[in-house]
Symmetry: C2
Subunit: 440 residues, 2 copies
């Protein structure tokens, strides 16, 4: 993509309304634009990142054996009256009346709806287990939306639901999502720590939130330093195998959010305890028959008796992740995208537009990168070098290739890694090999 043709409205100044770094950088890098409080449009570069995040989430859900559906944003109120949540939900629920005066709502979540879908077609234990998910926009009418896409009103969420005959089945489902979540966040270059969360009225230990580590994170978290050595992508996962050993490994170490951390009772010696900041990006949750009982989601068990199915729900904040990744990966100059979610792999800077040799070499490189299917943003603007460097650092593509008039004479370019800051002069072919994406 040529920058002169791209719709990338970067800002030089820090927008006054943005209180946190990801919000500032997303506005400055031209990724999003506010439509109204807590509601954003995703501009081309922001949308590319959102799609990449969504695709990683999708692939890992699919790998875990979860099937994708798409439920609508507007739900009938009756369904929520059946579960008893319509009146309980409070002012965060966006309530709507349609032209016939029927009570509707913009879904803040989908337990009721997926249970209704499941129930309509599943009659026998033989059809179990079933894992279903969708990636859809939700609405929660926050009193005071802020922090950009990190706490928006309209936000994109992946929510999955599991249906099992009994508790043992639900445990198996829970473990699949636990492991899929570790892989999902690791693929985005994030360090995610699962922490036990409130499990609500059901009790038990089957509720975890996933906090990713970020110096500018919203909450303080504590965990064993050994978590930093774990790599969820080290080996292939067979999701049909027993996943208990993996889950045990990750839940065997101490980890707690601030409100649950009691220094007096913490079992980890101070020198092995990480005192860090985190951002919640996922939550998995077993809730038994909380929705299946009132909505009547029963199947015939092996003994012929009708049994209420056991359910769990598993959420990932997809649009929130775009902000969370920036919180975890940026510096004073701007964003530092992990390769897997970068909007482009390479930024190509032509330092002297109008100079025949730099134009020719830049054009040649641009064509060759596209030929190799390496996604490249070509800064072909007639701008001074300083502005080009600043913009490229701001938008944070993993690699920069700089073509200047001196190098162009000898056929060399400068390659810079955005994350490490390392720079080196090299011939064109070597530069092409250097910036090729690594397979994840």
């Amino acid at each position: 993509m040529r920058l002169t043709q791209y719709f990338l409205p970067t800002l030089k100044e820090n927008p006054a309304e943005a209180q946190i770094v990801s919000h500032r950088l997303m506005l400055r890098a031209g990724m999003i634009r506010q439509s109204s409080a807590g509601i954003y449009s995703w501009l081309p570069m922001g949308f590319k990142v959102l799609q990449k995040i969504e695709q990683i989430v999708r692939e890992e859900q699919d790998a875990a054996g979860c099937q994708e559906v798409l439920m609508p944003t507007i739900q009938p109120a009756e369904l929520w009256r059946e579960s008893g949540r319509y009146d309980d939900y409070g002012a965060e629920m966006l309530r709507i009346k349609d032209r016939h005066g029927r009570d509707m709502l913009y879904g803040p979540t989908n337990e009721e709806q997926i249970t209704e879908i499941f129930k309509a077609s599943t009659k026998s234990y033989k059809q179990l287990p079933k894992l279903l998910y969708h990636i859809q926009w939700k609405f929660r009418d926050e009193v005071r939306p802020r922090f950009g896409v990190m706490r928006g009103r309209e936000f994109l969420m992946k929510d999955a639901y599991s249906f099992d005959l009994d508790y043992e089945g639900a445990v198996r489902a829970y473990r699949k999502f636990f492991v899929a979540y570790l892989r999902t966040f690791a693929r985005m270059g994030l360090k995610a720590i699962p922490m036990q969360a409130d499990s609500g009225p059901i009790g038990g230990d089957m509720s975890h939130e996933f906090q990713i580590l970020a110096d500018t994170g919203e909450s303080r978290v504590f965990c064993h330093k050994d978590f930093l050595k774990f790599d969820p992508l080290q080996s292939e996962i067979d999701f049909d195998a027993d996943l208990k050993p993996i889950v045990d490994k990750w839940t065997g170490l101490y980890a707690a959010a601030d409100e649950k951390h009691d220094p007096a009772k913490c079992p980890v010696p101070a020198d092995q305890l990480l005192d860090a900041r985190g951002i919640e990006v996922g939550h998995i949750f077993y809730f038994g028959t909380k929705y299946s009982a009132p909505l009547g989601a029963n199947v015939d068990g092996p003994d012929g008796k009708s049994t209420t199915v056991h359910m769990g729900s598993y959420g990932i904040g997809v649009s929130r992740l775009a902000g969370a990744i920036i919180e975890a990966s940026h510096d004073a100059a701007g964003i530092i995208w992990p390769e897997s979610v970068a909007p482009f792999q390479v930024g190509l800077i032509n330092l002297k537009v109008g100079d025949a040799k730099t134009d020719a070499l830049s054009g040649d490189l641009y064509a060759k990168l596209k030929q190799k299917k390496i996604d490249v943003l070509y800064d072909d603007r007639d701008e001074r070098a300083g502005a080009k460097f600043a913009d490229m650092d701001l938008i944070g593509l993993p690699w920069q290739i700089v073509v200047g008039p001196r190098g162009a004479a000898s056929g060399t370019v400068e390659v810079k890694n955005r994350k490490s800051g390392e720079k080196a002069e090299m011939p064109l072919e070597q530069a092409l090999a250097k910036v090729a994406p690594k397979a994840v």
Copy 2:
């Protein structure tokens, strides 16, 4: 995917509420489930089709040089007050008050919003032209929603918008979409006929709707038979070249919807006139400064003077297409998916589950198809043959491979083409080659 594990709630009976064939077949094939009037959930197989349609639309928009964004579903009422449409729009607009009493709405379309986004960042004619699109859920509160996803209340639409300095620029943009639309529908196996549509208050001939031919289509259309000979995919398109010759070819032949067709004035001889039925799936429309003027979307022109930009909008009914394709391609037994949008390329039927040899051969084929990245649905249910054949014809995958105990003994299978109905016995390796997808 193994059918015993897939969430595919097919129905044996015709649902009483469905008046048209696509609605009936989508319900019977377990593609969708109604949530409330005119609002549907997309179940796994329906969602796969929807994604494939969406991806073809996306690829052709990208090829035409249009950049993807994503605007939110919930818009502020003020924006629509600026354009004067808030009060004009009528009861079809879903109006909402948020918790602070602010007037919001669920977007039925996005002219105002995209104009606001464009305006905020574009100051000079040098930044033009700009083509922007998004694929997002819309809501139109129809009085009497019916015909399934063909006329839903919540529906997925691709809407694109062009911004140009002058009329000539807008003509160039218009032609790009015209050609992109021809290619888009052709890739879905559809015969789309562009027909001049009402151009509204601006006048001129820059408004076309695209009707696809389908025997069960909603409206009667008339066109020259030579349209059937045109193939939009015959040659590569350079979207930066002059597209006038292509547009002239397609607009040079007579085509008119029923309400515009006057037999007395029709220039086509009766034996060359096609009297058919059609379904509107796209509409492209130049509207000059209708929104840019009231919203103040101006740029500095080459002469330094402020100029109001010329705009057009270009819509495709993405979720509607899922129904329209079925209307255009089905028979008494069920759906006949064109390969490009089929949820799976192959349906593999094991005729005798439990028989060692058929199980082994079916399992072997299933593994080999997956290895070749051919998307396959494996009917491994313990059901009678008749039910399996009926279900496979109903869901309409392009190819069926039938493994029976007799063939299994000799290593042969039966391959059936769903569209032609042709069947042939052949060895496994030959079957694998036969069902491989053709590149489009």
